[in-house]
């Protein structure tokens, strides 16, 4: 795919890159754009949206007026640093937006100038620009063509390269009818010919929506962000009277305070740090999801992800490897285990399904039976839905493997008698959560194969850590309750829903939600759509149908259901980062008071010098140091805001204790150290 950034390796199979180009945190081109943005965002109409920083801007203007009337190095220094505080805040936001913008640019290039082969109702083909296609048009795509817009295949089957969207280089099969009929504009047909009915209006394609999302063009504040903004506004409002009343208080005591110092005090007290970084944290949270190849349709969904208490996980592909694997050969009716293995291997030689391959592999591992050259005298019998078995006719032998009932009937038809213990073995295998296949050679049942669902490695630990943060996992499977229970136990999930129908899934979600819980789930089929819409976090697989993608509030471009767990982590990180930086910001105020209050009244009440615990050089250096610290701390925390505070799954209390220690206590102590250091530097300059 065309890539915007040099760091991308679009086709590397080891690390798939879709929209998620992992540019480093401080990519030079983003940096340059952000610097430009931090100046253009000085527009008061932009600033008014952020009450805290807007107050700083107003303060800067007041301070500048004062500096013009009473020019001095001190008043101008304060004014410049106040202005820099606003600029740094803009810079933080521009940095966060810049990453999304770069990604959007590369996506836009992909969309440009595709030509579509539209079929007129009379069947004649015409070439039109893709941008002219409307919903309902029918187009033809052949090998090598770019699919011009989103649509459903109404005829044909093709392999499609979707790496432009997902970064996954392996082609996927798309065919008419069923859950694999959706195609996305901007992807390329690699083989065959398909006829596609366009399902998206102009400007409403998946690609368009993706561009809008990564760019954050119509980003809206999330509920929690609004609540936090209100708290920050309250903290700003309360400090206004605190500072404004200081002037009459001081006059009563026979002191006079300079307006510039009062403005400096105000700016230092209001929560500028979190005020400056709040929107960057939100944008960066969405961006971290994009880096994991997940598109969140709204910030609200990301926030909800942090609150999820119940995860509904599909068994296949999420908890277990997609396929069942042969685990054991069970001899019956006097045959040996190796005889069963040999026959099963024969019957599976032409079976390209993962189950079939696993039988061949097991036979090799257990008995050293290698793949054999069969003579001309053989015919493979493929699996069919009616016979429900497959095998090979070789010489006079007819070797079959298949579903227990099917093979039993086939053996009886051949004139044989199934061994009496067949039923017992079959049901024992089923109870263990596995699938039994029966192997027969003509009228003789040789034995059974146990096909086991293999639980993915590390899942048990993952569920364990989810449990420790209070998240319940529920496995959803179409298996019967016996099988489901066995696998659920092996995987370590908290609960399971067996023989799951879309209705049962929906009922489960509603039941959980009625208990006040937030539910997250993944899905891909059209019949998942209602449940995806009902869930608080509905992650649609990109391979899924258009209906599923529209119902969910996130799309996973990798179509990897395990990602639900990462999505929850990103949500939690986002919230923690907000809380931690707010705490840090407020805790900072303590040191600033000890710097500025003694300085403010140094002339009237020299006794207050006792509060100057940092032993700052002079009132002027004290105030300036506090202002400079206040501005620089914003820049220093940008990387943290963009990356997010680290999160390990553990109990709420231990997370809180750690964050309170780092950001609460750290927030109290850090400014004492740095304000003193800045003061030392200013003193060394001998300017004040």
């Amino acid at each position: 795919m065309p890539s915007a950034t040099s760091t991308t390796s679009p086709t590397s199979p080891a690390s798939p890159h879709g929209v998620a180009q992992s540019s480093s945190l401080f990519d030079p081109s983003i940096l340059a754009n952000a610097v430009r943005g931090s100046v253009t965002k000085l527009d008061p109409r932009v600033q008014i949206r952020n009450p805290v920083i807007f107050v700083v801007l107003v303060g800067t203007v007041v301070s500048m007026a004062e500096a013009i009337v009473h020019p001095s190095l001190f008043t101008w220094s304060i004014t410049v640093w106040l202005l820099l505080t606003v600029v740094f805040a803009n810079f933080a936001e521009a940095m966060a937006e810049g990453r999304g913008k770069a990604q959007a640019d590369s996506l836009r290039r992909m969309r440009a100038d595709t030509e579509a082969r539209r079929l007129r109702p009379d069947g004649v083909e015409e070439r039109v620009p893709a941008s002219l296609l409307v919903k309902g048009d029918v187009v033809v795509c052949e090998a090598g063509d770019l699919i011009p817009s989103d649509g459903d295949i109404i005829e044909g089957i093709a392999s499609v390269d979707e790496s432009a969207i997902t970064g996954e280089s392996a082609p996927v099969i798309r065919e008419s009818g069923g859950d694999r009929s959706a195609v996305t504009g901007g992807t390329r047909v690699l083989s065959d010919r398909i006829v596609v009915r366009i399902t998206a209006e102009r400007g409403q394609t998946f690609l368009d929506r993706m561009i809008g999302l990564v760019e954050g063009a119509n980003r809206q504040k999330t509920p929690n962000e609004i609540a936090l903004t209100i708290l920050l506004a309250a903290l700003t409002i309360v400090f206004l009277p605190v500072v404004v009343t200081l002037s009459p208080f001081a006059r009563f005591s026979g002191a006079s305070v300079s307006i510039v110092v009062l403005v400096a005090l105000l700016v230092c007290l209001i929560p500028t740090t979190i005020g400056a970084l709040l929107s960057a944290i939100g944008i960066a949270g969405m961006d971290r999801l994009v880096q994991r190849n997940v598109l969140a349709m709204s910030g609200r969904a990301v926030e909800a992800a942090g609150d999820v208490q119940t995860l509904l996980l599909d068994k296949t592909g999420t908890i277990t490897l997609g396929n069942r694997m042969a685990a054991r050969f069970i001899p019956l009716g006097g045959s040996t285990e190796s005889e069963v293995g040999a026959a099963a291997q024969l019957a599976s030689l032409a079976d390209e399904t993962p189950e079939g391959r696993s039988i061949v592999v097991l036979a090799k591992e257990r008995f050293g039976i290698r793949e054999r050259e069969l003579g001309d005298d053989h015919e493979f019998i493929p699996f069919s839905a009616t016979t429900r078995m497959s095998g090979v006719d070789i010489g006079g032998r007819q070797v079959r493997k298949g579903a227990a009932e099917a093979v039993r009937h086939w053996v009886i038809d051949q004139g044989g008698t199934p061994p009496p213990d067949l039923d017992a073995v079959v049901s024992e295998v089923s109870r263990a959560g596995s699938t039994p296949l029966v192997v027969a050679d003509g009228p003789h049942v040789l034995g059974a194969i146990e096909l086991k669902d293999v639980v993915k490695q590390g899942m048990k630990e993952r569920f364990e850590s989810l449990r420790s943060v209070g998240i319940r996992t529920v496995m959803i499977t179409g298996d019967n309750p016996l099988t489901a229970a066995a696998i659920a136990q092996e995987a370590g999930v908290d609960d399971y829903l067996a023989e799951a129908t879309p209705e049962a899934k929906m009922d489960l979600i509603k039941a959980e939600q009625e208990g006040g819980k937030l539910v997250a789930m993944t899905g891909d089929g059209t019949n998942d759509a209602p449940a995806l819409a009902q869930a608080d976090v509905g992650v649609a697989m990109n391979t899924g149908t258009t209906a599923a993608k529209e119902a969910g509030n996130m799309v996973d471009l990798d179509s990897n259901p395990t990602k639900l767990i990462e999505i929850v982590e990103v949500g939690k990180q986002l919230l923690i980062t907000r809380g931690a930086l707010t705490t840090f910001s407020v805790a900072n105020d303590v040191a600033k008071y000890f710097a500025i209050i003694p300085a403010l009244f140094a002339a009237t009440y020299p006794q207050l010098g006792a509060l100057n615990v940092m032993r700052l050089h002079s009132p002027q250096t004290a105030v300036l140091s506090a202002v400079i610290f206040n501005a620089l701390v914003i820049v220093a925390l940008i990387p943290l805001a963009l990356r997010g505070v680290r999160w390990h799954p553990s109990g709420a209390s231990s997370i809180l204790r750690r964050n309170l220690f780092v950001y609460g206590l750290g927030g109290v102590i850090t400014p004492f150290v740095f304000i003193k250091l800045i003061d030392l530097v200013l003193t060394a300059l001998h300017a004040y």
């Binding site: 509920p223 929690n224 609004i226 609540a227 936090l228 209100i230 309250a234 409002i237 309360v238 400090f239 009277p241 605190v242 009343t245 200081l246 009459p248 208080f249 006059r251 009563f252 005591s253 005090l265 007290l269 942090g306 609150d307 208490q309 449990r467 420790s468 943060v469 209070g470 998240i471 319940r472 006040g516 819980k517 939690k572 919230l575 923690i576 907000r578 809380g579 931690a580 705490t583 805790a587 303590v590 008071y593 209050i597 403010l600 009244f601 009440y605 207050l608 006792a610 509060l611 999160w647 109990g651 709420a652 209390s653 997370i655 809180l656 204790r657 964050n659 309170l660 950001y663 609460g664």
Partner: protein
């Protein structure tokens, strides 16, 4: 009894009242206590109230405002007309309009700021029908609001938060009246005066001097003064007057009475929300801050006056005895005054003005932190719950969840209302103090210049906006300016907090409950206690630090030399 034993006995009695009064109050507001039903039901009939019907928060708040408004008008009217009304043996004239306004607001808002000397201004009828009645009902209003907020937390998806009239009447009938009556007998037995006869005139045959000794229906007014965290005494000297507070036993009982309901309400809270640990967490935060200030002030007062010590003129064996009641001594007086300033009572057993700078700071800080340690009846609990809500918001975010308290999601509306409730007080205090120090009418108020004069003004507005009512003395508050502005401060500090609290109650009651799990931020742990203390100290500290540094702190740093 030594100071140590006094404290110990007090703690034991408080623990008992926490457990038993707490659960009794829960039963009262759940309607499970009915032994006075024969008194209760006729009241509902007369007022045409259906005790079974519940109110939404706007109706609850509306009823509260209407009731308080009527109370304000009636009290004002009684004070203005007292000259023509009975029970006026001294033939005292009408109270001036400004003073009547300030006093009416003061008693309706549970503040009991007194810009007058009771014995020489108020007729017995005014004391009983205007002031004492308000001491009962204003306390019941405070508890009602707290209970409404508790219901907000306890209920799920409920449109209503209770019935104001029922809460008011039950509070007076089942809680305040019985306790006040029993304790009134104790006060009488200890020697507090209770009579409708006028002042006694005593002629001293030896010196030839004639002394007029004021009397009145004092003893039965005393318990509700403390129990309802009102603080308004019959006499100007308040708890330092031997007719109000005759013995060490009544001093201890007074401190117990003023602390017992605010403390016990934390148990009521825990019981009604289904986990008494939730209440204990808040009580711990209250107790730790209270204990710290008590320790500070006791230490500072025991050291004596730094200015006196610096002069090397006299030794101060009893500590700083300036302005203290000699019957009690410096330490018990400190206990009384600290307890009364931390509970929005404001009664005093000694002059606050004469406390050492650090001791005086202890008195003022209790109010500046919002009267939550443990605060006034009802108001202490609902205000600390606002701080707890902010603590939950920050703490909840830091564990990676959108915050919830007792299963209720804390969203934009809750944050807005909590912030409003917390910010009204500091803004009122700072704004009105700034006006007072800027205009002539305000600047002539304090009798002292410099930082101490500033402290006097700051204290006056802090006390009134927190509905405390204690005075620092030294400020001539009975002027049109201070009467009017003080009234505004009291109204803002009372209803400016109550209305957002009731809105919050309504909003919380209507919410569904999120089940708690391992990922939920726990609010019944010592960690949460610490977080609540942190929020209280940071919010109070940050808003008042500059102002305080111009008053008590600069005095303290000057070793008291700026006294005078």
């Amino acid at each position: 009894m030594s100071y140590f034993w006094t404290i110990l006995v007090l703690v034991v009695l408080l623990a008992l009242s926490w457990r038993f009064l707490g659960s009794y109050m829960a039963a009262v507001y759940e309607g499970r206590v009915t032994f006075l039903a024969r008194l209760e039901r006729p009241v509902y009939r007369v007022l045409m109230i259906d005790p079974e019907s519940e109110q939404t928060w706007p109706r609850y708040a509306g009823a509260l405002i209407v009731f308080s408004g009527v109370a304000l008008v009636v009290t004002y009217g009684l004070l203005r007309l007292q000259g023509s009304l009975p029970f006026n043996p001294q033939h005292l004239g009408a109270v001036s309009p400004a003073l009547a306004w300030n006093t009416a607001v003061s008693f309706v808002t549970n503040t009991n700021w007194q810009n007058y000397a009771g014995e020489s201004t108020m007729s017995y009828l005014s004391q009983m029908a205007a002031l004492t009645v308000q001491q009962f009902v204003s306390a019941a209003v405070g508890i009602a609001v707290a209970v409404a907020l508790i219901r907000g937390f306890a209920r799920k998806g409920s449109p209503t938060i209770g019935n104001f009239w029922v809460d008011l009447i039950r509070g007076v009938l089942y809680i305040l009246l019985p306790i006040a009556f029993v304790c009134g007998i104790v006060f009488v037995s200890q020697g507090a005066v209770q009579t409708l006869a006028g002042p006694a005139t005593v002629h001293n045959a030896l010196t030839g001097a004639t002394q007029v000794i004021p009397r009145g229906p004092v003893a039965f007014m005393e318990p509700i003064k403390q129990l309802g965290t009102n603080g308004g005494g019959f006499f100007n000297a308040n708890g330092a007057d031997p007719f109000e507070d005759p013995t060490g036993a009544t001093l201890l009982l007074s401190v117990l009475l003023l602390l017992c309901i605010p403390v016990a309400l934390t148990y009521t809270f825990g019981k009604l929300v289904g986990s008494f640990r939730q209440g204990l967490t808040l009580l711990a935060a209250m107790a730790i801050i209270f204990g710290t200030w008590l320790g500070f002030s006791s230490y500072a007062e025991a050291q004596g006056n730094p200015a006196v010590a610096a002069a090397h003129v006299v030794a101060q064996p009893g500590g700083n005895m300036v302005g203290k009641e000699v019957r009690f001594g410096a330490l018990p007086t400190s206990l009384y005054n600290i307890a009364s300033t931390q509970t929005s009572t404001g009664s005093v057993a000694g002059a606050n003005d004469s406390f050492t700078p650090l001791g005086g700071f202890g008195l003022m800080s209790g109010m500046m932190l919002g009267e939550v340690t443990p605060g006034g009846v009802g108001s202490g609990l609902y205000t600390i719950l606002l701080f707890a809500l902010v603590a939950v918001f920050l703490g909840g975010l830091m564990v990676g969840r959108t915050p919830e308290y007792l299963g209720k999601k804390i969203q934009a509306r809750e944050v807005k209302l909590a912030a409003l409730g917390i910010l009204v007080m500091p803004i009122a205090v700072l704004g009105l103090t700034a006006i007072a120090v800027s205009v002539h009418a305000g600047r002539v108020g304090p009798t002292n210049a410099g930082p101490h004069g500033f402290s006097e003004i700051l204290y006056a507005f802090t006390s009134q906006a927190n509905n405390n009512g204690s005075a620092f003395a030294g400020l001539n508050g009975n002027t049109a300016f201070y009467n009017v502005t003080g009234g505004i401060a009291m109204l803002l500090g009372r209803f400016g907090v109550m209305v957002p609290v009731l809105a919050l109650a309504g909003s919380l009651a209507s919410k569904a409950v999120v089940p708690s799990g391992l990922g939920t931020f726990r609010t019944d742990t010592p960690l949460f206690t610490g977080l609540v203390i942190g929020v209280i100290l940071i919010v109070g500290g940050l808003t008042f630090f500059p102002a305080v540094s111009l008053g008590p702190i600069v005095e303290w740093l000057s070793h008291g030399r700026l006294f005078g």
